[in-house]
């Protein structure tokens, strides 16, 4: 009897100790989680590193979940992130009768929408039956699709590539640029087919000598490869196979633009340094030359260009339509913040206030950032009108702008934190 009682006491004491232990462990974990989240949110990206909210730790679930959570906040950012109702008479893609369709049709991305909470390496719109903004996450190399109408974000690949510094996106082709042992490496892959929602991205290495690369509208690659002091312009299939050298250039530093009907090479920009742009075929034919701090955007399938000069003290933007004369646009910005639409329409982000001297040199080094607004440019009239004024304090330094094929949406990164944003052109 005494023995049973002792065993009972010991059992009860053990259970009580266990409960205390579990309680203490819970409190410890809670404090640690709070501390970790506190540090994460203060990492300086203006947003925290997303916590794993999804049931399987999915970044994709984090994306949609946290975006909506933040959208209900009260900060300036939160107001930009909130999801709105469809405009009168507007209906979401594929909306049909039924509760699910009704709920979907009521969800609508805001006009100025922060697509991601974490830095991205690159993004582009895909062409097809419906518009999608496809982007590559910088931390993981995962590929996501964002629906610009509904604001739905879906992760579509499950191949991990840590720390992707740059990415270029075609319809099914993705190029990722990473550092391997400190040296740049370029990887290219095609998104496979999938039945469970996540596809494998099989990447091929294109080597370490690639200076610049673009994915063409035909999903092949145009690249500049370094060979000693020379540069070779090469076209290849998406995986680097069937390379064809288009041109060998004995010296120079260039960036490529695929203008659809032709290839444009632009000398890399330095503030106050003369630059030139060329149409590249079997020879280099000058498009424009001797422009200080030249930056240029060529319109696809046309001879129209927007270009800017940076003489070290100020930025000036110009347009040249075909063989017509050059006209200056009263907008102090770099052509890198511009994107062509159809006809003679273009859209440019331009800094508020005075632009610091040696802009390109310091901007490329990440030493300065701008706060931009968006403008609609009529290149034929050489005029610019305000398209969208970004709320002051948002710190939007536009880079890598792209426009969707229908001309409804602009997407761009914020150079401060590499976040991805989208702007619906019509209100």
């Amino acid at each position: 009897m005494d023995k049973d009682r002792i065993i009972t006491y010991i059992g009860v004491a053990a259970i009580i100790l266990l409960l205390f232990g579990l309680g203490g462990w819970y409190l410890f974990l809670r404090n640690e989680t709070t501390a970790i989240e506190g540090e994460a949110s203060a990492r300086g990206f203006a947003v925290g590193i997303p916590a794993f909210l999804g049931s399987r730790g999915s970044t994709a679930e984090n994306q949609s979940g946290t975006a909506e959570n933040i959208g209900t906040g009260s900060s300036a950012f939160a107001r930009l992130l909130g999801f709105g109702k469809p405009l009168e008479g507007e209906k979401a893609d594929g909306a049909a009768d039924g509760e699910a369709a009704k709920a979907e049709s009521e969800r609508r991305a805001p006009r100025f929408w922060r697509v991601t909470l974490s830095p991205v390496a690159g993004a582009s719109f895909t062409t097809g039956s419906s518009t999608r903004l496809r982007y590559v996450e910088r931390a993981s190399g995962h590929v996501f699709d964002a629906d610009p109408r509904t604001g739905n974000v879906t992760r579509i690949t499950n191949t991990l590539t840590p720390r992707v510094y740059e990415a270029f996106v075609g319809n099914d082709t993705v190029v990722q640029r990473v550092l391997e042992d400190g040296a740049p490496a370029t990887l290219s892959g095609r998104i496979g087919r999938t039945t469970d929602g996540l596809a494998e991205l099989t990447l091929s290495s294109l080597g370490s000598d690639i200076e610049d690369i673009v994915v063409t509208s035909a999903s092949d690659l145009l690249l500049i490869a370094r060979a000693g002091t020379a540069r070779h312009l090469i076209r290849s299939a998406w995986d680097g196979s069937n390379p064809k050298q288009l041109l060998a250039i004995p010296a120079g530093d260039f960036r490529i633009q695929d203008a659809g009907s032709h290839i444009v090479l632009v000398e890399r920009t330095g503030s106050g340094t003369p630059g030139a742009a060329f149409q590249a075929s079997s020879v280099l034919t000058p498009i424009i030359s001797n422009i200080l701090g030249l930056s240029l955007k060529a319109q696809a399938k046309s001879d129209n260009i927007l270009f800017s000069s940076d003489d070290g003290t100020r930025l000036r933007l110009f347009t040249k339509l075909g063989q017509a004369s050059t006209a200056e646009i009263e907008l102090a910005t770099t052509a890198e913040k511009c994107v062509w639409a159809s006809g003679t329409r273009a859209y440019c982000a331009a800094p508020r206030g005075t632009v610091p001297g040696l802009f390109h040199d310091r901007w490329y080094r990440g030493e300065i950032h701008t706060e931009d607004n968006w403008y609609a440019v009529d290149a034929a009239a050489a005029t610019a009108d305000t398209l969208f004024t970004i709320e002051s304090g948002t710190g939007m330094d536009v880079e890598n702008p792209v426009i969707d094929p229908s001309g409804e949406y602009l997407a761009f990164q914020n150079a401060r934190d590499k976040s991805l944003w989208m702007l619906r052109i019509k209100e």
Binding site: P119, R138, R163, D253, T269, G270, N290
Partner: protein, 323 residues
């Protein structure tokens, strides 16, 4: 008789009016901006008539600036600007546009980090690789390089070793300080076509820029550490980038790190990267760095930054714009 095919600018000024072209040596098909200036005539109230080869292409009161597209290779366009002042003061200026299809491309062996979008500017004493691209044509086909004589100049002096028939490329040392003007004159062997072009090569002092080296995102090249920054991290890895240093890789330089007055032994494998561990310390970490090239005593660059551990706000929250 030799054709005048080079980018010659022949400006015959009246006493009152000057005409300038930009660029002075346009390429074929390039837009040339024409600007008038005068201290003797009020151009804003004058009627200005612009003529190209005798044909009026622009006219207006106060039209001091206009532009014209240069013709093709070998073409000559004579520009005349006639000024009729409101008080009967007249003036005129002339210029000739003779497009030069000669481009000078160059690159330097200075260092810039991976994926740097800008130009690799010429650090002091950097090696410059230049190439001249002449667009001479004969009978509709390009004149081969071996039929062109190239003469390279640096600040007006011929670079004899680099010049000669077919020598379209030149390798030279960039300036240690200031600016060198590299000029090249290309002329066909039969002297029927000639063009010249020049580029300034400016010597830039190497510049040390410090970046956070983030465990998830890598080196944050898009966001330099500028001035004072706060962080609530307890450990922070930073990487210094020696922009435009005369080196092929940053690891080949030697780095002297000093934090709060204490010398820090650099990491052997990546001396350009430093890990700051604060533990319980709160306060500033005063970082000083000197980078040197052991084989080039002229290459030395320094920088100083202040990272405040335990700050109330996150790193880089201060505006970096227009500092």
């Amino acid at each position: 008789m030799p054709l005048l095919a080079h980018a010659q600018l022949s400006v015959f000024f009246t006493r009152e009016v000057t005409l300038s072209l930009s660029p002075e040596n346009p390429a074929p098909g390039e837009t040339v901006r024409l600007s008038l200036a005068s201290y003797a005539i009020d151009l804003d109230r004058s009627t200005i008539i612009w003529k190209a080869n005798g044909v009026t292409f622009a006219e207006g009161v106060g039209l001091k600036e206009t532009s014209i597209v240069a013709g093709g290779t070998g073409s000559v366009t004579d520009i005349i600007a006639e000024v009729v002042g409101e008080n009967g003061d007249n003036g005129a200026a002339e210029a000739r546009i003779s497009p030069s299809d000669l481009q000078v491309l160059w690159t330097s062996d200075s260092y810039a980090p991976p994926f740097f979008k800008g130009r690799k500017l010429s650090g002091a004493n950097a090696t410059i690789h230049a190439a001249a691209l002449a667009g001479f044509t004969r009978g509709g086909t390009r004149v081969p390089e071996v039929d062109i004589i190239y003469t390279w100049y640096r600040n007006g002096s011929v670079i004899a070793d680099a010049s000669g028939r077919g020598k379209s490329r030149a390798t030279m040392q960039g300036p240690a300080r200031g600016t060198d003007i590299i000029r090249v004159v290309a002329e066909t062997a039969d002297r029927t076509q000639r063009a010249e072009a020049s580029v300034p090569i400016i010597a830039y002092d190497p510049r040390l820029v410090l970046y956070e080296n983030h465990p998830l995102y890598g080196v944050l090249y898009h966001r330099a550490i500028v001035g004072d920054v706060n962080t609530v991290e307890r450990e922070l890895k930073v990487t210094a980038v020696p922009y435009f240093a005369r080196t092929s890789a940053p690891q080949t330089l030697s780095y002297d790190w000093v934090v709060n007055g204490f010398d820090i032994e650099p990491n052997a494998e990546s001396p350009e990267t430093l890990t700051l561990t604060a533990d319980d310390y709160t306060g500033p970490a005063e970082i000083e760095l000197a980078a040197m090239n052991p084989t080039d005593i002229l290459m030395r660059s320094t920088g100083a930054w202040r990272i405040i551990f335990g700050g109330t706000s996150g790193i880089f929250t201060s505006t970096l714009f227009g500092e």
